[in-house]
């Protein structure tokens, strides 16, 4: 019963925390670029504003445009609940594994891509087409990275991977793990529309992928879509943080262990946020047709990860 409660609470806390992580990245980037920047809690203010605003829906749009934000938010939430933030083993682990998580995120992407086409604007179509291109090309990398993790952990279930790595800490430093981490890091950038694949802060519609796709959304719909995007970033943060560097995750449900776990997760999020902010400040956006090259690099990394995990077996 306690385990269920911990699972439920950690998922809900992640939901609440997600916009803050995006705000933190933005704030760090601003500081690195010598700007003052909005405070890290700015996304919460934006969400509150958006939820209070009227929605404008294109006359061309159908019911799909209106249900898509709910599906996007719900499937990203469902994916969030599959991630072990604080403790293993966990009861929700049996509901779905890493592959299920990836497919839930793909469901969200597909609905956003459909909603991008629905109002019939060229921007939406462009963003939708590019988003699906990136998503499709990122898919093999994700699968092989999962394959590499499963090789050393003997399972694709997230809790199992964390528990196995905790029991045998040497695997976390094995070349297979490190390469898979690098591959997933690139996928994280691509899937979340970060630099160098997409620029989340640009004003020009033509250079965007994700923002062009959701251009027609407003009010509460936009709030849900943005919140889901923040949640997706948090999911990838926690995958990178907890699957590859599982230290701190509680193996027993004692208050002390859970407090340590909560602290360590926050530290990992902050470190990853700093990492992304530094990275995004250092690199320029790639031309769209250079993106496949980046993704093939990540694919090769994942392939090497599988190979070295196999050899180390």
């Amino acid at each position: 019963m306690v385990a269920w409660a911990v699972d439920a609470v950690q998922g809900l806390v992640a939901l609440v925390l997600a916009p803050g992580v995006v705000g933190l990245v933005r704030w760090l980037k601003a500081r690195l670029q010598s700007r003052r920047g909005a405070p890290p809690w700015q996304p919460y203010r934006e969400l509150r504003k958006l939820f209070a605003k009227e929605v404008v829906v294109s006359t061309n749009a159908s019911w799909l445009f209106r249900i898509a934000p709910y599906v996007v938010f719900a499937s990203t939430t469902a994916a969030t609940f599959l991630v072990p933030f604080l403790a293993v083993p966990r009861p929700l682990d049996a509901v779905g594994d890493l592959l299920v998580l990836v497919y839930l995120l793909l469901l969200a992407t597909v609905f956003l891509a459909l909603a991008g086409l629905d109002p019939g604007s060229a921007f939406g179509g462009m963003g939708s087409s590019r988003e699906m291109t990136v998503a499709a090309l990122a898919e093999p990398t994700i699968a092989l990275a999962i394959f590499a993790l499963a090789l050393s952990a003997g399972s694709t279930n997230l809790g199992q991977i964390v528990a196995r790595t905790l029991a045998d800490p040497a695997t976390a430093l094995s070349p297979g793990h490190l390469l898979a981490f690098a591959a997933l890091f690139v996928v994280m950038l691509a899937e979340n529309g970060r630099l160098p694949v997409d620029n989340p802060a640009t004003h020009l519609e033509l250079t965007m992928i994700h923002e062009a796709m959701v251009l027609e959304y407003s009010g509460r719909y936009l709030a849900l879509v943005e919140w889901a995007a923040a949640l997706k970033l948090l999911v990838f943060f926690s995958l990178l943080g907890n699957l590859f560097v599982p230290w701190g995750v509680a193996v027993a449900l004692t208050p002390g262990a859970l407090a340590v776990a909560a602290g360590s997760v926050v530290v990992k999020f902050v470190l990853l946020a700093v990492g992304i902010a530094v990275f995004e400040t250092r690199v320029a956006k790639l031309r769209l047709f250079r993106v496949p090259e980046l993704l093939s690099v990540s694919f090769v990394l994942a392939l090497l990860a599988v190979t070295s995990s196999f050899l180390a077996r």
């Binding site: 592959l99 497919y103 090789l151 027609e216």
Partner: protein, 685 residues
Amino acid sequence: MAAALSPNLTSAVFLVMVAGYLLGAVGSLAAASPAVTRSLTAAGALVGAAAGLGLAGMVLVVGAPFAVTVPELLSPGGGLALRLDALGAFFLLLIGVGALPAALYGVGYTRAYAGRYSLRWLGAMLNLFLLTMSLVVLADNVLTFLLMWEAMSLTSYFLVMTEHDGADTAAAGGWYLAMTHAGLALILTALVMLIPPGPGSTFAELRLTVATLSPTTRSVVFTLAVLGFGSKAGLVPLHVWLPRAHPAAPSHVSALMSGVMVKLGVYGVLRFALDLLGEGPVWWGGLLIALGAASALLGVLYALMEDDLKRLLAYSTVENVGLVFIGVGAGLLFAALDHEASAVLALAAALYHALNHTAFKSLLFLGAGAVLHATGNRNLNELGGLIQRMPWTAACFLVGALAIGGLPPLNGFVSEWLLFQSLLPAIASSAPLVPPLMTLAVGALALTAGLAAASFVKAFGIGFLALPRSAGAAAAHEAPASMRVAMTALAGLCALFGVGAVVIVPRLAEMLRGYDGLTGQPAPLAEGLSLALPGAFGGMSPPLVAMGLVLAVAGVWLAVRLGGDRRLRRGDTWGCGRIGQTARMEYTSTAYAEPLRRVFAELYRPTEDLTVDVHPESRYFVQSIAYRSEILPWFERYLYTPLLRGVDAWAARAQAIQSGSAHRYLAYLVIALLALLAITLARSG
């Protein structure tokens, strides 16, 4: 219960099936009016398919035996021998799942055919096609099998030719006829190599001969069977007929061909590999995985570029058959390596994907048919806006598109997940080349899944959303009730097979027991509501995932509804200040796939042709732009064109002996007779 299911009962159900189809065929031919023809066609097919489902259910669920031999029919080949085992029953079930909705759909769909095409022949051939497909999986000796196989191919050929005045129909039929007969020749050779010297040729007797064959001969038989059945299943490079013939047929027939008939190619390979030939070397599985991965990737890559909705679906069939063959190959490979649990898992995943594909591909073809029916168009670049005009069809098509895209919680997601999971245990194998092969197969599977999602976002998004791109699409109307019911039933099945996987998948594993190499008691594949896999390579619970998603959508909707603002205003789509949006500003199907065409330019080798017509006064006033782009048809150009040229050349050479002189023909006869006598003498002496 078992007592109630005596052989008499199964025989009675079998007779109902045959009688249903036959009466449907005869009734269609004899009916007085088109309306009666359409009803009788559907009635016969519905009765036949329902009885077929019943028979399959009896054999699968209760384990009732069914075997009939009619020595009087086909006596030179040992009589008409029929027997239904678990493998055959599974495919009979699959036929029923595809046939019931297709038959119902035909009532509404073929209404427009009256006066243009022969409804009588369509009805007769449809019923005979369903009957012969059912008898293929029941056949228990060589002659019965070959006869039914050929009858199935011919009836489906006539069905493809229904809309005989279509622009590409004749060419499509020609390709189909040639490829299916090349396949038949290979299958015939494979079966003949297994026939024992004596008079008998039942499958049981064939199995006995196999023990006496050398490993090389068995491998030759296997390869012939894979190529022969692969041509029916649409394995690359034998797939070229499929994207031509399937779209040319009436849409409910396309659904049957893509959803059901290609699976009989899978059945043939399984019948040979699991049953007749028994366990083979490791490379048999490897060959199937390689062919499957190539078909999956090339199928989806060509589907992505396709602007014709039905051709897109046909290419996607090539892709899905490839996925099924990856599973079958992995199963054979694991069986050869004695990893029995993994073999059962991989084969169960393949069979489940085959069943799921029947549900969603039939649904999508029926949806495409409804679009064609309503707009007279299948070019995605001229569709759009249909979600407003035919909401029911759009909702059903969306379910099919999500299912085939492998998205939770629908059935395609579950079987793709199972396929992934079934490839993972290859890690435990120490056989050389197996781990790299499996790694590449996982990569191919994942890329296929991603590209499939992209191509179906394109198909639904461009076809159904936004503004209509042509007058036909603007004037579209919702499909009649019979078509809607058929599509809704299939959409329901997609959801049911997704959530119900925990019940169905363990049954599939159970069913496979007793086939070669799979003798032991398999580990259960499900625990409560979860699919738990042997070897603990992860598990998941389709019903709980579905429940979680539904609860989350409901929860978010409720929270937003209670807490947030409910105001909603309709406004124009943002057009950078330009007022008045038209369909010309929308993305098209071609444009949607453009980024991926560039990424895979090495494969597509696109040739582009852009003609800009400017005003004579100034080159800044563009009067018209014509853009054409074609991708390189590799297989047609580099495999089939030289092949056909070679055939022509040899045919021309063979003409030399065809002089037209009766004397020379008589001389040929004498030479042939003498040669036969000589051979007979040599063999007996």
